[in-house]
């Protein structure tokens, strides 16, 4: 569902007021507490009635959470030396040791022809080739591919999240016409969207607003239609795009109207407080992990992307002994400086700890006898094999949960990489979506088996 029509400024003002009145817990307390508790065993009771009656009853819900850290991880610390099932954990993977059997680590993988260094981050879920070069067009991202197919089964077709994202420039989510979907940057906004019920008056106002939006779309769509008659092929294609956008937005407004009248899930936790500064990067990441887990736990969506825009992040605050003195991006150009590498390592280790926390939290939630992790694919990766040199090959990548036989290191040729889009095809199939291709895939991921 796109941003609702309304005044962003007015929304911003009311957001501020909302936080102030509900700020019973400090953010730190919130983060350090027992996590966000749900008031009832949600998954059974919260399955939307109309969905339960429909197709979801027959298949297990499958979910995907795709995370890209656009500065990656120090490769020498990340990749294990041995391959196969009995491999020895690398220093970074040691931090995930309690989940060893719940993830697969990949090496020697990349997106074919996705080059160009930093610009490649927007291709992490699209695998569209040559993002740095002229005439580049991005293509449909994996999360949106999923959203288009099963999005109607949940309140939200997908969530596009970000941390410190350079707005309007970066996002993992792209529509089929290669248009960026902006990231939600505030956990409080995500939380409100998921759980905070509008008052009856607000619901009525929103319904009226949606109806008004639809009448606006009728007017502009009608004009596009009448203009279409008189133009050449290339121009008609442009107007078609306009008209398609109108129709897509109309459809979403229609669905939104339906959802508007259904109650949202209830949670006991207060609206999270958003970290005020981009320096609190790790807090923001943790909050987004929590939001993703809550969204899955309440079956509010099945497809989430999260862009960790490290490139756009300042010197970050790690709350521990290692003092970060330099902007994240500058650090990544470490030029082999030992001081810089040490700081990067401290940051990377935090990333690994947060992933461990996420996996643990997902395991703690049960759904029909499975854990949430059993049904949630967590993809963690990056567009850079080595941020210092900007190579876009040999990407540090791992996939956890979701119902695969994990506990292995799938090592491919570091000189001639194996196509990462093959993993996407495997993931789509695991979602129950009939797909045998995605972008430049050549098949499914070799060596990755379903449970």
């Amino acid at each position: 569902m796109p941003a609702p029509i309304g005044s962003p400024r007015a929304a911003a003002r009311s957001t501020g007021a909302f936080i102030a009145t509900r700020g019973a817990l400090s953010r730190r307390q919130f983060l350090r507490g027992a996590g966000i508790a749900l008031s009832l065993p949600l998954l059974d009771s919260m399955l939307p009635a109309f969905a339960r009656a429909g197709e979801t009853a027959k298949a297990k819900p499958r979910r995907m959470f795709a995370i890209c850290n656009n500065l990656g991880l120090l490769p020498e610390q990340f990749f294990p030396k041995e391959t196969g099932r009995g491999y020895a954990l690398s220093p970074y993977l040691q931090l995930l040791r309690e989940h060893r059997d719940d993830f697969t680590v990949f090496s020697g993988v990349s997106h074919p022809d996705v080059d160009g260094g930093h610009p490649a981050d927007i291709c992490f879920l699209t695998a569209a080739p040559h993002p740095g070069s002229g005439g580049f067009r991005n293509t449909l991202s994996l999360d949106q591919y999923i959203a288009e197919r099963i999005g109607h089964e949940t309140r939200y077709a997908s969530l596009t999240l970000g941390v410190n994202v350079q707005q309007g420039v970066r996002s993992l989510s792209w529509t089929g016409s290669g248009v960026l979907i902006p990231c939600e940057e505030k956990a409080s906004d995500v939380f409100r969207r998921l759980f905070v019920q509008g008052s009856p008056a607000e619901v009525q106002a929103q319904l009226r607003k949606l109806a008004q939006g639809q009448s606006i779309l009728d007017a502009v769509g009608g004009q596009a239609k009448s203009l279409q008659r008189s133009v050449g092929a290339r121009d008609r294609e442009r107007l078609d795009q306009y008209f398609t956008s109108v129709r897509e937005l109309e459809r979403r407004m229609e669905l939104a109207k339906e959802w508007e009248t259904r109650p949202k899930p209830k949670v006991t936790a207060p609206v999270p407080l958003d970290p005020a500064s981009p320096r609190e990067y790790m807090d923001k990441v943790k909050l987004m992990y929590d939001m993703a887990r809550l969204a899955f736990e309440t079956d509010s969506t099945r497809s989430i992307s999260l862009m960790l825009d490290s490139v756009n992040s300042p010197a970050i605050d790690l709350h521990d002994d290692v003092k970060i003195t330099d902007g994240y991006h500058n650090l990544s150009h470490h030029g082999r400086s030992e001081a810089k590498i040490a700081q990067l390592k401290a940051i990377d280790e935090w990333h690994m700890k947060l992933i461990a926390g996420l996996l643990k939290d997902l395991k703690a939630v049960k759904e029909d006898g499975d854990t949430l992790l059993d049904r949630t694919m967590v993809l963690y990766g990056t567009n850079l094999g080595n941020a210092n040199t900007h190579v876009t090959t040999n990407l540090p990548t791992l996939l956890a949960g979701g119902g695969f036989r994990h506990g292995q290191h799938l090592g491919f040729d570091v000189n001639h990489n194996y196509p990462l889009p093959n993993l996407f095809v495997s993931m789509l199939q695991r979602m129950g979506i009939e797909a045998d291709r995605f972008a430049s895939s050549t098949g499914t991921m070799r060596g990755l088996e379903l449970v």
Binding site: P2, I5, G6, S7, P8, R9, A10, D115, G117, H130, S133, G134, R137, T175, S177, G178, V179, L180, I181, P182, R208, A211, Q212, G213, S215, I216, D218, A219, V220, Q223, A224, L227, S230, V231, G232, A233, R234, D235, R238, Y242, S245, V246, E248, L249, R252, A276, K323, T325, D326, H329, N330, H333, G335, R336, S337, N388, T389, H390, V391, T393
Partner: protein
């Protein structure tokens, strides 16, 4: 017969069959004259065996409907015409052979392009980009303060510009955003009160501001003098006030004394000392006059405590004296949390100086001053680099005075466009309600007037009905009159006729010309005068068109053209994309004033080329530059005073002058830590010379920079360049980059590279952030090289002279960039004669930049879709 001789025909027939199956137009035979030339001069290397450069000309079909195929033939054509192929060490084609080859190819190529464009025109119909949309809505609603573009997704870019139809996509997400920003803009320009707001002048004393006063006293969060404020009366220290034994101000009872009270700083505004006049918050969005009174002071050196070591670098706030030099101040509008917009800058002297800026502010914004020359302390053991044994400079702020909101009329243009003169009434909730006299008639009348104004061409009566239906539906649903009208207006501002440039194939209508001209030279919609001329059918007359182009260029709004053009042509929008490395370049690190000056230099420089119609060769070598004090020092030029960027003559042997050696260009072509001759070279070749190199082959990693200083980038590159397959392109790419090796990541001159290595003592010095230098000087720079056509150069001065040998090419590139920007379509093969004609018309005056703009406006490229 060589074995591959039959291959082309086989390939051809196969391709034809496949194409026929797929329903696309089939390939044509390569014209015999061209085929013969290929056989004789090209096939030795470019056949199916050698495939040099990945090109097998014996198998290349002529399938010009296919864009890729067409582009390959253009490349073949261009390299033969340029004499680059066959290569210099191969036999030359006989006289006339090249002409025959070119002639044979050109015919079918032009025909193919004409066919592809038949009935469609060069340009693809496009929507406005987010900058154009913002400007158009601002102009329509008479609200230059509206901030709209950031609410819209980034626009797609093709051929380096955000003006190309094929890349200006629209998704449901874009559309939702357009709806949201349009409605928001309409609501913002509506009158928010019944009576005209009073224009007031209010003074805000620094002493009364929390951000000034709180930092005067120390706490656990505020322990260091360099990060504190201090009270002064004129240039006298006030220890009693500082120790809080006396109140912070004498108050309004003693106006003469109060006027002389000030708060000083020795640091510039940066976390944790961020000064702002927070008691002022713009009561409504609009125009304001902002005056600030401040002056420079001198703060004495810290005394050694008894028995302790000296500490002269710590400021002694009880020892204040008159300032020793003027100080530059910049001002930002600030909306919490730290959303900053630069408003302007001026200098203050050693005597209290009142500077004034007339600015647009958004509701709720406050004013942040910044004494930019002063240091910005970073953890952990900083020392003020400006401190001497005699003390250190500081700035004392007296007050901010704000006059406003400045209203031309009330209610404003936007409100009157939306609601005419309908009366306003206060609502119980404190809002305002528009009171229609006759709902239906008012809605009809206002909507018709709004559409007539918003659309850039005459409106047919039946076009109004769908929007009227929106209003009617809203009213039926119980929405208020104003909200219903806003729904209708929102639809108008998102409808194709407003959002898209309506251009029909063939000669553009007068209204379409008016729009093209305005979106070219103002980056906004046409104004009344252009619309009136278009309505009278006079705009296409050459002398009228010329006069209008002159009028638009003479307006201050022309900066919206030049700045937007530079943002994309030269990537200036990315000037903040990377920051100078805090270890290698801590003298530049956090120096916002330097980056701001660098940006302004290039903007003013290009605007000057347009204003004074200076020859295009100035793009590469000019005898003048635009600098302020900071930039002159950065460039090593004779000193100038003050923060205002102004034109200065350059010393005869200066390496500066022209775009190549401007700090902005040198910064956007570097990454903050290192420079790469390959990246800079490719950038210069494409942007300045218009000779874009081929893209890098996939999966070849970039040469890894080594900031430990053991090897120079040239040494690292040499291995790469010595391989024949790499050298083919790198002999073209690298020379411009080598010539610029004397310039560091911020465009400062260097004779040696900087490096960081353990065990090598660093250079002495303290950076802007107060931390000691950690770099040393490593290998010397070698900026010599050989141009792509074999001419040697010693350094950048030499290199620029080589570029000046072909002024026409510099002008040709600029003309192509401008045509792309102005018409929303790249210069294609068939457009080249038109560009040559533009050059021909301007050659006599050395390809003056303003003349180029005029010639483009009068050209068939501009006047046809």
């Amino acid at each position: 017969m060589r074995p591959h001789d039959f291959v082309p025909r086989l390939v051809f027939s196969l391709a034809a069959v496949l194409a026929a199956c797929a329903g696309v137009a089939s390939a044509a035979p390569v014209p015999s004259a061209a085929a013969a030339f290929i056989e004789q001069h090209c096939a030795n290397c470019h056949d199916d065996v050698e495939k040099k450069g990945g090109l097998d000309l014996t198998a290349l079909s002529l399938q010009l409907q296919d864009r890729k195929n067409f582009a390959t033939w253009v490349k073949v054509h261009d390299r033969v015409v340029a004499g680059e192929m066959p290569p210099r060490d191969k036999p030359r084609p006989a006289a006339g052979a090249v002409d025959a080859f070119v002639h044979a190819l050109t015919g079918p190529m032009l025909a193919a392009e004409r066919a592809a464009e038949a009935g469609q025109g060069r340009a693809t119909q496009r929507r406005l980009n987010r900058f154009e949309y913002e400007n158009a809505v601002r102009d329509l609603l008479g609200a230059p303060w509206l901030q709209i573009r950031d609410g819209l997704p980034e626009d797609g870019e093709a051929h380096r510009f955000n003006k190309i139809g094929d890349a200006l996509d629209l998704s449901h997400v874009n559309l939702a955003r357009y709806l949201a920003v349009a409605e928001d803009a309409l609501r913002q320009v509506m009158a928010h009160q019944v009576d005209r707001p009073a224009t007031k002048t209010t003074r805000y004393y620094a002493r009364d501001q929390r951000s000034f006063a709180n930092r005067m006293t120390y706490s656990v969060f505020n322990t260091r003098a360099e990060r504190a404020t201090f009270p002064v009366l004129g240039t006298q220290a006030q220890p009693e006030v500082r120790s809080t034994r006396q109140p912070i101000t004498v108050g309004d009872a003693y106006p003469a004394t109060r006027e002389r009270e000030a708060m000083g700083v020795v640091a510039s505004s940066y976390e944790p000392i961020e000064l702002r006049f927070e008691k002022f918050k713009a009561p409504q969005s609009g125009r304001y006059k902002v005056r600030v009174s401040a002056y420079s002071v001198w703060v004495g050196p810290g005394k050694a405590p008894p028995g302790k070591a000296e500490r002269w670098w710590i400021p002694n706030f009880d020892d204040v004296s008159p300032g020793r030099r003027p100080e530059p101040l910049t001002f930002y509008a600030e909306l919490p949390p730290r959303q900053l917009r630069r408003l302007g800058a001026f200098d203050v002297g050693t005597e209290p100086t009142t500077g004034e800026l007339e600015v647009d502010l958004l509701e709720g914004e406050t004013i942040r001053p910044d004494a930019v020359r002063l240091f910005r302390s970073r953890p952990s053991n900083w020392v003020n680099p400006l401190a001497t044994r005699e003390g250190q400079p500081g700035v004392a702020f007296r007050w901010l005075e704000v006059e406003g909101p400045l209203l031309d009329a009330w209610p404003g243009t936007g409100h009157r466009l939306m609601f005419g003169d309908l009366p306003l009434r206060r609502t119980p909730g404190g809002g305002v309600e528009v009171q229609p006299r006759d709902v239906e008639a008012d809605a009809d009348r206002l909507l018709a007037a709004f559409i007539a104004r918003a659309y850039r061409r005459p409106v047919a009566a039946e076009e109004i009905a769908p929007f009227r239906a929106v209003i009617a539906a809203s009213l039926r649903a119980g929405t208020s009159f104003a909200d219903a009208m806003i729904a209708g207006y929102t639809a108008v501002l998102c409808s194709p006729a407003f959002l898209c440039l309506e251009e029909t194939p063939g000669a553009l209508s007068d209204h379409a010309v008016a729009a093209r001209l305005a979106f070219f030279l103002w980056n906004s919609a046409p104004d009344d005068e252009l619309r009136a001329l278009a309505a009278r059918g006079e705009l296409r007359r050459p002398e009228v068109l010329r006069a209008q182009a002159e009028r638009l260029l003479a307006s201050p709004k022309a900066r919206q053209f030049t700045d937007a053009f530079l943002d994309y042509w030269l990537d200036l929008r990315k000037i903040q994309a990377t920051s100078p490395d805090s270890a290698l370049y801590n003298d530049y690190y956090l120096d916002d004033a330097l980056t701001e000056a660098a940006l302004e230099e290039t903007q003013l420089f290009f605007a000057e080329l347009v204003r004074a119609d200076l020859p295009a060769k100035n793009l590469v070598a000019s005898e003048f530059a635009f600098v302020n004090e900071r930039l002159a020092a950065h460039y090593g030029l004779p000193p100038v005073d003050g923060i205002a960027v102004r034109r200065v003559a350059l010393p005869p042997d200066s390496p500066r002058g022209g775009l190549l050696t401007q700090a902005s260009v040198l910064k956007v072509t570097a990454n903050g830590t290192t420079t790469s001759p390959v990246l800079r070279g490719a950038w210069i070749m494409e942007r300045i010379l218009g000779l874009p190199p081929s893209p890098p082959p996939p999966s070849v990693p970039a040469v890894e920079p080594d900031i430990r200083g053991a090897k120079t980038i040239r040494q690292l590159l040499d291995r790469h360049r010595s391989e024949e397959s790499c050298a083919a392109c790198h002999t073209r790419i690298d020379p411009a980059g080598f010539a610029l090796e004397n310039f560091d990541v911020m465009g400062g001159w260097r004779d040696r590279y900087r490096a960081i290595a353990e065990g090598v003592p660093p250079v002495e010095g303290i950076g802007k952030g107060g931390l000691k230098f950690t770099f040393h000087y490593a290998q010397p720079v070698d900026a010599a090289g050989e141009s792509w056509d074999g001419r040697p150069f010693r350094d950048v001065r030499d290199f620029k002279r080589l570029l000046l040998d072909d002024e026409a090419q510099l002008a040709r590139n600029l003309a192509r960039q401008l045509v792309t920007y102005a018409t929303g379509a790249p210069v294609r093969f068939g457009d080249r004669p038109a560009v040559e004609k533009i050059l021909e018309q301007t050659r006599a005056r050395g390809y003056g930049v303003r003349a180029l703009v005029h010639a483009i406006v009068q050209s068939e490229l501009f006047l046809n879709k």
